[in-house]
């Protein structure tokens, strides 16, 4: 024991260097570090612990993933992360639900106000004035107006939306701010709600918008000015 300690003291600097220099010092390096905590770099020890944990997870994961290596039809090929199957990678024909049913469920709108549990998609048509074709977006894919804005910007590259303020909503109570918004951007998104009215996007909290939006139309700012007063009226009547 004394020898070991002695040796280690002698090699103190080197050992420390090694430990520090090889964060991937698995297995053997780890053991040495364990037996002489004073000389080991603390970093080395914790890294080893972390690595061991990772290794364990990977080992059990390997069993799980053995079958995945069989060239199952994954498009694209999934990452071999054992802890979770990669999100949104859909294997052909799995789960075994007939495509007729899949299509029907995707296109049916969720019903009722209490649709918190509803996990079917909320597809709405998006048209942009001057664009030759319509697009469809699944509003449930986004969590905020900003995300939607980014997605729409990608789809219709000539289109940019203004900023949505700190709370992510347009401040309708401030008329002059609103007019600035409408005058500054080239295009403004509007939507048709459940009542059939055309509203400016951004006037209600995001989730409420997802639930009530039936279709989107990206229109020129100048045209949208006609909407704003109506939108404001609706807001006022709600308040």
């Amino acid at each position: 024991m004394a020898n070991v300690l002695g040796t280690e003291h002698d090699l103190n600097f080197k050992e420390t260097e090694l430990c520090l220099g090889l964060p991937g010092g698995i297995g053997g390096g780890g053991n040495e570090v364990d037996s002489s905590p004073k000389t080991s770099g603390k970093r080395g020890f914790s890294e080893t612990v972390d690595l061991k944990l990772n290794l364990q997870a990977k080992e059990t994961g390997m069993d799980l993933n053995k079958n995945l290596d069989n060239g199952s039809k994954e498009k694209p090929v999934s990452a071999k992360d054992p802890t979770k199957p990669p999100a949104k990678v859909q294997v052909v024909g799995w789960p075994p639900v007939r495509s007729y049913r899949k299509n029907v469920m995707a296109s049916n709108k969720t019903t009722g106000e209490e649709s918190e549990k509803a996990s079917s998609a909320a597809f709405v048509k998006v048209s942009m004035d001057g664009a030759p074709y319509l697009r469809k977006v699944d509003l449930k894919m986004y969590k905020s107006y900003q995300e939607l804005s980014d997605a729409l910007a990608k789809m219709f590259s000539s289109f940019t939306m203004g900023n949505y303020g700190s709370q992510g909503m347009i401040d309708f109570m401030n008329e002059s701010k609103l007019m600035d918004l409408l005058n500054s951007s080239d295009y403004v998104p509007s939507y048709e709600d459940k009542d059939g009215d055309w509203m400016l996007v951004g006037d209600v909290p995001w989730q409420m918008f997802v639930d009530s939006c039936k279709r989107l139309r990206i229109m020129k700012g100048s045209e949208a000015i006609g909407l704003a007063p109506r939108a404001m009226e609706k807001c006022k009547s709600r308040a």
């Binding site: 079958n67 995945l68 069989n70 060239g71 199952s72 052909v92 024909g93 029907v104 469920m105 509803a118």
Partner: protein, 611 residues
């Protein structure tokens, strides 16, 4: 609907043929010049008696057995078989079938294997009805019924049936494709004796032909009209006229282009209906505040014979209370397209005391299933489909729902359950609480998912099912499974005829256990599991007893499959590539093999090779 059903038919009404047949029937080898009706030869008499008796034999298994007794029985059985069932359209050719069975009135044919439903089979693989249609038209001009599953039927085939078969009465197409509304138009126009037209889960192309108005004018014999899968607008006025002219109509299943207002108009004309598919179950336009809505409750109340309800394709739940009057009589309820919550389900299901068959979406959650368990004590069949059919979706139903069902519905015989999580404990509980289970299909949507409570594989759960459910004939497994699960199946699943496996097992041993242990195995479909050539070899003793074996994305090689093909000449061994992939020499993507009297088929697409 299960292919394992032994349908009991009423005795055929062609006993008047007997005396003619007896006159034509030769005695066994006695070689007398005139086989007369009152022949004194004892063999002749025996054959007459046999014929009379065999007329009443309806079970196809019994008939197959009878035909093997001796040549005389074989002949007589062939003469008296009026319903011909062919489980694989490539197992026998139309010529051979029509040569042996000369007095067939009803034909049932099945084509593609079930995994084709999930896009695992490239399109245009085969299963064409055309050669059969032509053969039938020549050999059985009196043919009355055709029932097809997973076959490709063209408009011309429909025309053939309608024009060449004079008394044609019944067409049932399940999971078929290849035809459109123009074929339907010709068909309904020409079949003046039509009683049944059932289109179920089939793909019908919209040729923009108004087929409903092609039904002949005047009184119709229609007893059943099912078209809920037809994805095109229909002429409602024509449909209303048709329903009004069909006093025998018992089954009507509408597609989603029929609004609830239109449904009302049909229902009041047909209160005698026993089976109703409601169509969209929503109004065509949002009803204004002042509009008078028809009295839907009354319409349902008038249908005193209604026992089977389905549809609800675009349901507005506010209209659900309309069905209250029929709930107490319902034996079958299909909500599998209705995205409703537990709260919306409860008032309905609490009235459905007689319910035996229930199909539903998992939107009702475990809570909804608990409500089902509380009321539906007569439940025989339950199917729970996912609203969100993705691996990583929300999981509104779980082991909690399964446990509740097992405790409440003790008479359960058949279950199909999609979920995101399941425990061995719940499956074991079901195996003990529901000993009458014949069909157990559990689909844990996440691949390789273990028991979330214990972390164990799902081996013990499925093991308990095969051990405790002594009548089990159909099993579909999922979740994390080792070879042990297959060991259990091989040891205890002695009656299993259909087995579906996906993403399961560790090694060849898994498949070996099953092939060596399950003597009744007929249909085996496997995907993405690590079974290779050695495992395939272990089934050589059994493949002639099976209808088919499907293995995709497993570990088979062409040489392994070639070995099987060489060893078994009556087996057709198809190696199928994805249509867009290059020929791969080292791996077999899809193996589909089946027994056949005909050898390699002649209608092969280029992505299929027969070894």
């Amino acid at each position: 609907m299960s292919e394992d059903d032994e349908r009991q038919q009423s005795p055929p009404s062609d006993l008047d043929f007997v005396s003619n047949k007896a006159r034509n029937c030769n005695a066994t080898g006695s070689g007398s010049g005139h086989p007369e009706f009152q022949s004194a030869y004892p063999d002749q008499v025996l054959e007459n008696v046999l014929e009379n008796v065999l007329h009443f034999l309806t079970s196809k298994r019994d008939r197959n057995a009878a035909s093997l007794v001796c040549k005389s029985w074989y002949r007589v059985e062939a003469l008296t078989r009026s319903e011909l069932f062919i489980g694989n359209c490539y197992a026998v050719s139309p010529a051979r079938a029509t040569a042996r069975f000369t007095r067939v009135r009803a034909l049932q044919l099945k084509g593609k294997p079930r995994f084709a439903d999930f896009n695992l089979m490239p399109p245009d693989w085969g299963a064409h009805f055309n050669p059969w249609a032509l053969a039938m038209a020549k050999a059985y001009p009196w043919l009355e019924k055709v029932h097809l599953k997973r076959m490709t039927v063209t408009d011309d085939d429909l025309a053939t049936l309608a024009l060449l078969l004079l008394g044609f009465k019944e067409l049932v197409l399940v999971c078929c494709d290849g035809f459109g509304t123009s074929g339907l138009a010709i068909f309904v126009n020409e079949c003046r004796q039509l009683k049944v037209l059932d289109l179920i889960d089939s793909e019908v192309s919209d040729d923009e032909t108004d087929w409903i108005s092609c039904f002949p004018e005047g009184e119709s014999h229609l007893e059943s009209l099912i078209f809920d899968c037809v994805e095109c607008h229909i002429n409602f006025e024509a449909l209303e006229r048709l329903v009004a002219n069909s006093p025998s109509l018992k089954k009507l299943r509408l597609n989603r282009y029929v609004s609830i207002g239109q449904l009302y108009r049909l229902m009041i004309r047909a209160p005698q209906l026993t089976h109703l598919g409601t169509g969209s179950f929503s109004p065509s336009e949002i009803a204004g505040q002042g509009d008078q809505e028809p009295d839907y409750v009354n319409a349902f109340a008038a249908c005193k014979s209604l026992v089977c309800l389905s549809g609800f394709r675009e349901i507005i739940p506010d209209y659900l209370p309309a069905i209250y009057p029929v709930c107490a009589n319902l034996t079958s309820l299909n909500f599998s397209y209705a995205n409703i919550t537990a709260e919306q389900l409860k008032p309905i299901i609490s009235k459905c005391h007689k319910l035996q068959v229930f199909w539903v979406l998992d939107s009702i959650c475990d809570e909804g299933l608990q409500a089902v368990a509380a009321t539906c004590k007569e439940l025989r069949e339950l199917r729970v489909f996912p609203v969100d059919p993705r691996e990583d979706g929300d999981g509104p139903v779980s082991e909690v729902g399964l446990q509740a069902i097992s405790e409440g519905c003790r008479k359960l015989q058949s279950i199909l359950y999609f979920c995101q999580r399941m425990t061995n404990a719940a499956v074991i509980a079901m195996s003990k609480n529901c000993p009458d289970l014949v069909v157990f299909r559990l689909c844990i949507m996440g691949r390789h998912r273990a028991d979330p409570v214990t972390g164990e594989p799902m081996d013990d759960g499925f093991g308990a099912i095969v051990m405790n459910c002594k009548k089990l004939t159909r099993l579909a497994v999922s979740g994390l499974l080792t070879d042990k699960a297959f060991d259990y199946i091989g040891q205890h699943g002695k009656l299993v005829r259909t087995l579906s496996v996906a993403f399961a097992g560790d090694s060849d041993m898994g498949l070996k256990y099953v092939l060596e242990g399950c003597p009744q195995l007929q249909k085996l479909e496997i995907r993405d599991s690590p079974f290779g050539d050695a495992a395939l070899r272990s089934g050589l003793h059994h493949y002639y007893n099976m209808r088919f074996l499907w293995m995709s994305s497993c570990r088979l090689t062409p040489s392994g499959c070639q070995e099987i093909a060489r060893a078994m000449p009556r087996l057709v061994v198809e190696v199928i590539r994805s249509a867009d992939e290059e020929e791969m020499d080292d791996a077999v993507e899809i193996l589909y093999m089946y027994r056949s009297l005909e050898g390699p088929r002649t209608d092969l697409p280029k992505f299929v090779t027969i070894l």
